[in-house]
């Protein structure tokens, strides 16, 4: 297509404008809902220490109304800053980060009035809840960038959780559970690959069917095997956290990032490898070529279907490993449908993150944090009914996907089966 002069706003600028408007509205909302309406003067207390890390601040207490007001004003200022950055046609990343933190703190000052919130624990829990989302989203990146829609992330996570839980229980060794999980995910991915690539079945329906298959199969085995013979089949050990020397002692950040299990450390490595690999390696170049314009890839001698096949299997292995988090990474035994829709939230994170690895990670972290916040607040008890709190992560997902993402561009050939010689 010939280039056309951009008269009005470009797509990213429209998205930024929408974000600025949303930030302004939310900032004012915070002022009204957390400062003007409530009449409470109790102190809100935040804790910053978890373990024996180096301490910067132990805890911080503030008058609830003052805190809400202060942070609401900060949020509004951040929105104004974002507006000026938008006018100057710059990115608004920093302003939106400041806004996000301020809005959240304004909310917390109100919600924690007269209560204690362990802030470091809140963040650490958020990261943990984001782990399966990040694994799932990375699986999604590999699949969809190479041109196959992966609705079956949920099933792959669940298969990984089941296999690792059972094997770890049978052998009483966590490392065997860790080792087997990728194979379980890859097996589901193999089915996806065979039917989607070789037989060109509709990938959305196929993914859905695979999810149902895994749910049905694990439910059946759970009832018939895992419950009756629980001691041998379903009482696996869990991975213990490994403190990274020195790093774990960094105040606040240390316990959050560097006092985790091997599954979390593997996740860091996988995210970095995928991010660098996708954009800067031969593997990534070919994967993206297969997902964007398979005919072109084939015309330079790339075997498109083999490329897709391999990446789909690899994606399944990553999701399977993520599934191990549910059992050996967290609770030990397997539970019925214990992934509870995390695979679909991972898919939302993938789209929210615009099919980019780092974008998807950010989205997954936001979702994970929202999920954990809900848990923490329902424990300490707030004015908000717990049913609403349970909805929060999903509402966040819907707002994120509809409000902030706008029109995103999926890989051009995502979900389109490729048959040699047909489309030339």
């Amino acid at each position: 297509m010939t280039q056309v002069e951009v008269l009005s706003l470009s797509a990213p600028e429209r998205r930024r404008r929408r974000m600025v408007v949303m930030m302004g509205v939310l900032g004012v909302f915070a002022l009204v809902a957390f400062f003007i309406i409530p009449k409470q003067h109790d102190k809100a207390t935040f804790g910053f220490v978890m373990d024996k890390e180096w301490v910067a601040v132990h805890e911080w207490a503030i008058n609830s109304r003052h805190g809400s007001l202060g942070f609401a004003i900060l949020a509004i200022l951040a929105a104004i800053l974002a507006y000026f950055q938008f006018r100057a046609r710059k990115t608004i990343r920093i302003a939106s980060a400041i806004f996000g933190v301020s809005f959240l703190m304004s909310f917390l000052c109100w919600a924690a009035s007269g209560k204690f919130i362990p802030l470091t624990g809140l963040l650490q829990g958020g990261l943990l809840l984001a782990v399966p989302l990040i694994y799932g989203a990375m699986a999604g990146v590999l699949c969809e960038r190479s041109g196959v829609i992966n609705i079956a992330i949920e099933g792959q996570l669940l298969a990984g959780a089941f296999a690792s839980g059972v094997l770890a229980s049978l052998t009483q060794k966590t490392w065997i559970g860790l080792l087997i999980a990728p194979f379980a995910g890859a097996l589901i991915a193999y089915l996806l690959a065979v039917f989607a690539i070789k037989f060109a079945i509709d990938q959305v329906i196929l993914g859905f069917v695979l999810n149902v298959l895994v749910i049905g199969l694990t439910d059946f085995l759970y009832k018939r095997l895992l419950i009756p013979y629980q001691t041998t089949w379903n009482s696996g050990p869990i991975l213990s956290p490994i403190k990274i020397p020195v790093l774990w002692k960094i105040p606040i950040l240390g316990p959050i990032f560097f006092d985790q299990t091997i599954i979390v450390y593997l996740m860091y490595a996988i995210v970095i490898l995928i991010h660098v690999g996708l954009f800067r390696s031969k593997w990534g170049l070919r994967m993206r070529a297969a997902g964007e314009h398979p005919t072109a890839a084939e015309s330079v001698g790339i075997n498109v279907n083999r490329t897709r096949f391999r990446n789909v299997i690899l994606a399944g292995a990553i999701a399977g490993l993520g599934g191990a988090y549910f059992t050996i990474g967290a609770v030990g035994p397997f539970g019925k449908e214990m992934t509870a829709g995390k695979g679909f939230i991972a898919l939302a994170a993938l789209i929210f993150g615009r099919w980019s690895p780092l974008g998807a990670v950010s989205a997954a972290l936001i979702f994970g944090f929202a999920d954990n916040l809900q848990g923490v607040l329902s424990i300490i008890g707030t004015a908000i009914p717990s049913e609403f709190m349970l909805m929060a992560p999903y509402v966040a997902t819907i707002i994120a996907v509809t409000g902030f993402v706008g029109r995103v561009r999926a890989p051009a050939a995502d979900g389109v089966p490729y048959k040699r010689g047909e489309s030339v």
């Binding site: 010939t2 280039q3 951009v6 008269l7 031969k282 005919t295 029109r407 010689g421 030339v424």
Partner: protein
């Protein structure tokens, strides 16, 4: 290097796309393969390039038979191809596109692009191609994208370069430049297989010609053969290449477009401040290279564009904000650019396709009930009038050839009482015989006093049909010129350049 094909045969089901084709391309020659759309030229070249496997036959390079089971084999044998639809990945840079499939990496598996960029700059400079290895392909004009494809073939040492309909997307100036570059490449020793259906280009550039018709080689005329000879060989019967048009005096203004802007959903302005009139009994042809806003302008007139401002007045009525239904009934016949998707419903019968816009009006419908008998009877009358070749009007529209599909669209659109005919690329992809029919039909509509607005990227079509010519470039009508304007001047205008004396 020489390339030889012996008795290459390829069929798709019952259709024999290539029937025992023999072809010999010598060292350092430009060999034109001439044939109509659907004659089997592209299939043949996809066989040579390994994208399709032949059912029978041999491919020889320098006298030795080689087996080509995929594009990688073709590249290794020194055969490069520039496809009609570019094989470039829009979101990649030029360099990324060129290294794709032949990537060099460092010991950590990270891409090494600096060598490739150097090579690209060298080849680009050698042929004056002006290609920047770091630019994103989707931001480049098509002419440059094509050069990227050529550079890729050259970097991988292609000794035989296949160009599949390379001029279809180019402006006349870009075409001239390409033909010049082809000769330079030939003089440096590259053999070129030049696939086309444009006679002028064959005469200008080819050293040898092979004509293909319905999958068979029908002749090897000399380059001195006249256009009429080449055309009749291509079609299989004598063809009149000139269109006869009598002079008539245009009547009052039928369609008046003022300050029309069309935006797409992301806010880009694709049509900019367009103002023009079309009179009764006049053909206004909008010329321009594809993608310069013509499609959007055509759609905007019939009400298919959402984000428009300005005014569109038909016969004194402002139809700017009317629905498509109301617009069509106010007296517009619309022949869409993509007849397969927008002009017909392939799975519906021909008879049903003929009443897509009138199914709910008498005589086809009485209240909520449609009468299939009357629909079929009327269909028989229409297909006779428009010379549609078919088995039965109850067959699906998908069963028709391109030319006959277009006749069905015309038959439907012209059977309503209309004041204005809007036709977008009315003869794209049609065989010479159908083009003749469509052109005559368009002229007879004009002769009967209707206003006609055609959009075409084919210069010949524009000059043959038009009473006046509007040239569109980057969304604007940059010139309104007489039908007698020379091809050269029109070509310059289509490239956005105002030649002396045409500024309007």
């Amino acid at each position: 290097m020489s390339l030889e094909l012996r008795a290459v045969t390829k069929s798709f089901g019952a259709l024999i796309a290539n029937d025992h084709i023999d072809l010999k391309v010598g060292d350092g020659e430009i060999h034109a393969i001439l044939g109509e759309n659907g004659a089997g030229k592209s299939t043949l070249m996809n066989v040579v390039y390994g994208l399709l496997q032949p059912d029978a036959g041999e491919i020889l390079v320098d006298g030795e038979e080689i087996k080509i089971s995929g594009p990688a084999d073709a590249l290794a044998a020194g055969i490069g191809m520039v496809h009609q639809h570019f094989m470039l990945i829009p979101v990649f840079t030029v360099a990324e596109n060129i290294v794709l499939g032949h990537e060099k990496t460092n010991k950590f598996g990270i891409l090494e692009l600096s060598k490739a960029k150097e090579e690209i700059r060298r080849v680009s400079a050698e042929f004056n191609f002006d290609v920047d290895p770091d630019s994103l392909v989707e931001t480049l004009p098509v002419g440059i994208q094509q050069r990227v494809e050529i550079i890729r073939a050259l970097i991988y040492d292609a000794k035989v370069l296949i160009l599949d309909e390379p001029t279809a997307v180019l402006t006349p100036q870009e075409t001239d430049e390409l033909l010049r570059n082809m000769k330079i490449l030939r003089d440096k020793g590259t053999s070129i297989v030049f696939i086309t259906h444009k006679l002028r280009e064959v005469q200008e550039a080819a050293d040898k010609i092979t004509v293909i018709r319905r999958g068979k080689v029908v002749g090897n005329p000399l380059v001195t053969a006249s256009q009429e000879e080449l055309a009749s060989l291509m079609v299989g019967r004598p063809v009149a290449l000139d269109v006869y048009k009598k002079a008539i005096t245009p009547g009052p203004v039928a369609l008046s477009v003022k300050n029309l802007n069309v935006h797409d959903i992301t806010g880009r302005r694709l049509v900019k401040n367009v103002t023009f009139d079309v009179h009764e009994g006049e053909i206004l042809a909008v010329a321009g290279v594809q993608g310069n806003g013509q499609s959007e302008l055509a759609k905007a007139i019939v009400g298919l564009e959402e984000f428009i401002d300005g005014s569109i007045v038909l016969d004194g009525k402002d139809i700017t904000t009317w629905s498509v239904h109301d617009t069509l009934y106010s007296g517009i016949a619309y022949v869409p650019e993509d007849r397969e998707h927008d002009g017909l419903i392939s799975s519906f019968s021909i008879a049903e396709n003929l009443i897509l816009d009138t199914f709910d009006t008498p005589p086809y419908a009485k209240g909520p009930v449609m009468s299939p008998t009357i629909v079929a009877r009327e269909a028989e009358v229409r297909v006779k009038e428009f010379d549609v070749r078919l088995q039965s009007v109850q067959d699906s529209a998908a069963s028709l050839s391109g030319g006959n599909k277009q006749k069905v669209v015309l038959a439907r659109e012209l059977s309503r009482p209309v004041k204005l005919v809007v036709a977008s690329q009315p003869t794209r992809g049609l065989d010479v015989g159908s083009i003749e029919f469509v052109h005559q039909r368009i002229i007879s509509e004009r002769d009967s006093g209707k206003a006609v607005l055609i959009f075409s990227t084919e210069l010949d079509e524009v000059t043959d049909l038009a009473d006046r010519i509007a040239v569109m470039y980057r969304g604007e009508i940059i010139a309104m010129v007489a039908a007698t304007t020379s091809r050269e001047d029109l070509g310059l205008l289509m490239a956005g350049v105002h030649p002396e004396g045409t500024r309007s």
